[in-house]
């Protein structure tokens, strides 16, 4: 039962979790790229999206507790993702409007945003706890979970495959969005130089809100994916939020592809580290790797700048 | 751009004849064969330069010639890929500057100003200069917190020194005003005062006259001469040829990262390579400068943050 025997299984576990980190990390990175602002309340966007998707899927599940199959499963996952994304988007929109925009208009110091975000986060977490209860909420299986195929003897379950595939699809979609569309162009322009972007006729306010919403959509959908395996609860956001933020920094904050790479890498490091050492040291290892990488590459693995990334 | 090649042929090995005659002990700084590249862009291409103690040496050249890059290499903001810079704080103490951090170089006695002014905008004029004067002070946090005698004495000396420098640059009436609230010309002078506060033996001025009016330019010329009179060597980047001609004792001309000429102001002005370099650049500002006409202020916005990143 050495490490090498379990290597592939751990890799698959790590990639699944890492892809979720990556999806959340994108929200941090997008906002950071555009505003040079760490959106600490992003974890709550994730949490709210998660609840939204979970409730929607639960409402549509058959009452008898049977596990749906076939198209019904696909539909349920799609609905959950969609509703999760919408809730996340709405939450991000509201967050930007209420907690950030008024500050932006007052030229507040950057740290004021941090505190505003912490406040908004406290509010959202505890209100969610009050409304949805403080228990973890389980999302029953939406499809028959079994081994789809094996890689070097390691099982790949339907669940991890779905999560990984959807996450990767979202990552690629976002990458295309930023790299290839007019909207993406605007985002990159603002990220590079907001003042110049204004002169070029880019509506910066609009880009900012869109950036928040896009990050929220991803986080919301990611939240639903998360809830599929890990349940949802009012306090679920904090830990993955910190992890995703770490992932974003690891890859080079403000850099879309960096966030993806950072997320996957962090997932793997945790997975391997948790196996090799006592699992409660998992985070210690993850942070040590982060520090080591930043010592070697002070701007993260792929460097900064949303503008140049894609 | 065929002209470039033409200049290139003669220059690299060429030495300033006067400099060659100078005994090393007389030098304050010598740069040898500096090369600085950013990716594919070559900013300095084997620049050598010597400055005698007490001399006012002007570095001129068209925009993008590498003047500010040269400054950045001398002050440690950039590390050249090749070459060395020797600095003599005292005549018998040659010190290599390449590889040292900027603050260490400042402490050795090389101070600078910036092309786009970089004051501490929310501090008062006095505080700006004080930060310069305090470089040489040694007291630490304990001394500061306990108000130990040596700390208080140092503090007092620093203030006195700073006030005298403000007086020197003619800003005594602005002592307690915010740096950012001063008019442009005065900000330039404040920056010089701050640099002088570090008690340099070599002062690097990056376009001190940019954006100032003729009267201020005249004052500035007087100031530079006065500073040199106190024994401080001055290395000057300037576009305004009238100013250069009036204060500089020697001139080095850079173009495309190479030294294309050096000599006394008069010699340089007559140098055909220099004239060609300036005329070859269509930029009206530089042409005007070469012709000895009034300086056209460099576009602040464009120049902003260009010098050091």
């Amino acid at each position: 039962m050495g490490f090498l025997d379990q290597f592939w299984q751990l890799t698959i576990d790590g990639l699944m979790v890492g892809s979720l980190y990556a999806v959340i990390a994108l929200g941090y990175t997008l906002v950071y790229g555009v505003l040079q602002l760490i959106n600490f309340a992003h974890s709550e966007v994730f949490m709210l999206g998660s609840f939204g998707g979970l409730f929607a899927a639960r409402a549509l599940l058959p009452d008898d507790g049977s596990v749906p199959g076939g198209l019904a499963s696909v539909g349920l996952v799609a609905v959950g993702l969609g509703v999760g994304a919408i809730c996340g988007g709405l939450a991000a929109f509201t967050l930007e409007r209420v907690a950030y925009r008024p500050l932006r208009r007052r030229s507040a110091p950057r740290l004021a945003y941090l505190i505003s975000a912490i406040g908004a986060s406290l509010f959202a977490v505890n209100l969610a706890g009050k409304e949805f209860g403080r228990q973890n909420v389980d999302l029953p299986d939406l499809f028959h979970n079994g081994t789809v195929f094996t890689v070097f003897g390691a099982d790949v379950s339907t669940q991890s495959l779905v999560i990984f595939a959807v996450a990767v699809a979202m990552l690629i979609g976002l990458d295309r969005l930023v790299a290839g569309t007019r909207l993406g162009q605007g985002i990159r322009a603002v990220a590079q130089d907001a003042d110049t972007a204004v002169l070029m006729g880019v509506n910066v306010e609009r880009i900012i809100i869109v950036t928040f919403v896009v990050g929220g959509l991803l986080a919301g959908a990611g939240g639903f994916l998360y809830a599929m395996t890990f349940n949802a609860s009012y306090s679920m956001g904090f830990v993955p939020g910190v992890k995703a933020f770490t992932a974003a920094v690891l890859g080079g904050i403000g850099n879309v592809r960096g966030a993806m790479l950072g997320g996957l890498l962090l997932g793997l490091v945790e997975s391997y580290g948790g196996y090799l050492f006592q699992a409660s040291y998992k985070d210690v290892i993850a942070f040590l790797v982060l520090v080591a990488i930043l010592m070697i590459r002070p701007s993260g693995l792929l460097g900064e700048r949303l503008g140049r990334a894609a | 751009m065929s002209r470039v090649g033409a200049h290139r042929s003669g220059v690299p090995g060429a030495r300033n004849p006067r400099a060659d005659e100078t005994a090393p002990g007389d030098l304050v700084v010598e740069a040898r064969d500096l090369a600085l590249r950013f990716g594919g862009v070559t900013s300095l291409d084997g620049v050598s330069l010597r400055q005698r103690r007490g001399e006012i040496l002007a570095v001129i050249g068209p925009n993008g010639a590498g003047k500010t890059s040269l400054f950045n290499c001398l002050t440690g903001a950039y590390r050249p890929q090749q070459g060395s810079v020797t600095f003599w704080p005292q005549a018998d103490r040659p010190t290599e500057l390449v590889g040292r951090r900027p603050h260490a170089i400042t402490r050795l006695g090389v101070a600078r100003t910036f092309q786009n002014i970089r004051l501490f905008p929310a501090l008062s004029a006095l505080e700006n200069v004080q930060i310069g004067t305090e470089v040489r002070q040694r007291y630490g946090p304990v001394g500061a917190i306990l108000g130990l005698p040596h700390a208080r004495r140092a503090e007092r000396d620093g203030v006195r020194h700073a006030l005298s420098l403000l007086d020197l640059v003619g800003l005594s009436h602005r002592t307690h005003e915010l740096a950012a609230s001063l008019p442009y010309g005065e900000q330039r002078r404040l920056e010089i005062a701050r640099a002088l506060g570090t008690e340099p033996s070599l002062l690097l001025l990056d376009e001190p006259a940019a954006g100032t009016n003729p009267a201020e330019k005249q004052d500035l010329a007087g100031l530079i001469t006065r500073i040199a009179g106190t024994g401080v060597s001055v290395l000057l980047i300037e576009h305004d040829m009238r100013l250069v001609m009036s204060v500089a004792t020697a001139v080095v001309v850079l173009n495309f990262g190479r030294v294309i000429a050096h000599g006394t102001p008069g010699e340089v002005q007559r140098d055909p390579a220099v004239i060609e370099a300036y005329l070859g650049v269509t930029d009206a500002e530089d042409t005007g400068g070469a012709a000895g006409g009034a300086d056209v202020p460099a576009g602040r916005g464009a120049a902003a943050r260009k010098d050091v990143r």
Binding site: G14, N136, T229, G274 | -
Partner: protein, 391 residues
């Protein structure tokens, strides 16, 4: 000048809300209608933060008991509750305790709940001579630290850990046990006793600890790779639920067992019946939800708490409160901090989780550890450990 009307509005609205809320919370209490004497007890527990649910479980248990006492016409007094939140942390413990101590009407306290908060709070209770009965603090050391007014209605980890080890070794016939704890004081305390006992019995033990996050996928891989006969988790049900899910997905074939922190119907709800099926749960208590005797408690709990079901520590808190009421009844008119503190040690009260009676140290008497198992999606009692081992 800029206008910020909306922001002003938000501020005002919040102010109004706050005031309204403040008024709302002040409106309860007062003297009872039928002129009965009112006795005030305090509750100190985890009412904020990540472990809030455990605090609410206990608080609801206390409220249920109080509602029952107050509804009882034969009761000579009415009970009133003062709540104090310590967030489960040592930092806030002294302040939370002091709040109850300052309220001179409070004659006894149910709480604190977590061992850390208990260690931080008890010196103050001892000094004030205010009785505190913890429904959930299981750290073995607590009764040895010189806290004079401290009692607990839950057996310490030592009792449960030992019994659990006996059961795992003797009945489940485990040769290889994977002992996992959640790195809380409760978890490490329990796993420490369990492991020592198992090793003494010659069972091979692998130890690991996790931080209570939510991602146990790789931990499941690790457990399966170790191929234990039994996994014993020392911690709380939300994590065990996720762990069970992950283990089921990966096809773990060993048995899963856990302690009283996981004895909660929520475990099954959160893990899903399929993943939870077959899990063994040990508890030095009778479980209110499964014990037929306690059906009345479950019903009244739901009634008092808007449909909420009893959870971990609900029963203990309920018992603690009723034991207090029992003492008040005995004391008659002389109910004061001193009298309650001195009389409580002699209480003998049949609760729903156990018989509440104390050693001189404040430790609850008796050490019956029951084994439960999830069968058909419901937690059912298998019996007393000692009986199960004999048979």
């Amino acid at each position: 000048m800029r206008r910020r009307p909306l922001l002003g509005a938000i501020a005002l609205a919040t102010a109004v809300t706050l005031t309204a809320a403040a008024c709302g919370s002040d409106s309860d209490g007062g003297s009872s209608a039928d002129g009965k004497k009112t006795i005030t007890i305090g509750f100190q527990g985890v009412l904020s933060g990540d472990s809030q649910q455990l605090g609410l479980n206990a608080l609801y248990g206390v409220r249920t008991a109080i509602a029952e006492v107050n509804a009882d016409a034969s009761s000579p007094f009415q009970l009133k509750l003062v709540e104090s939140d310590d967030g489960g942390s040592a930092d806030q413990g002294p302040t939370a305790a002091q709040k109850l101590i300052d309220d001179s009407k409070v004659v006894a306290v149910v709480g604190p709940m977590f061992s850390g908060a208990t260690k931080a709070s008890e010196p103050a209770y001892t000094q004030a001579g205010l009785l505190s009965v913890s429904p959930s603090a299981t750290a073995p050391a607590l009764t040895t630290l010189g806290f004079k007014t401290f009692y607990r209605v839950i057996a310490p980890d030592t009792v449960q850990g030992k019994a659990a080890a006996d059961y795992v070794a003797a009945v489940l016939q485990a040769k290889k046990v994977y002992s996992l704890d959640d790195k809380t004081e409760y978890g490490t305390g329990l796993s420490g006793v369990l492991e020592a006992e198992l090793k003494a019995k010659g069972v091979a033990v692998t130890h690991d600890g996790i931080n209570p996050t939510k991602d146990y996928t790789s931990e499941a891989t690790k457990i399966i790779a170790a191929a234990p006969d039994v996994l014993y988790y020392s911690g709380y049900y939300p994590e065990l639920a996720l762990l069970s899910k992950a283990l089921k997905d990966k096809g773990f074939t060993g048995k899963i067992a856990s302690g009283d922190g996981s004895l909660d119907p929520q475990y099954v709800a959160q893990a899903g019946a399929a993943a939870a099926e077959g899990t063994y749960l040990t508890c030095p208590c009778g479980d209110a939800n499964t014990d037929p005797k306690a059906a009345a408690f479950v019903a009244s709990f739901k009634k008092v708490n808007k449909g909420a079901k009893p959870g971990t520590y609900s029963g203990e808190a309920y018992d603690a409160t009723l034991a207090l009421a029992n003492v008040f009844k005995k004391l008659g008119t002389d109910v004061s901090r001193e009298s309650v503190a001195s009389a409580f040690g002699a209480v003998n009260f049949q609760g729903i989780t156990k018989t509440v009676a104390f050693e001189s140290t404040g430790e609850v008497k008796g050490s019956n550890v029951f084994i439960y198992q999830v069968k058909n999606g419901a937690i059912t009692v298998l019996g007393n450990t000692s009986d199960l081992i004999k048979s």
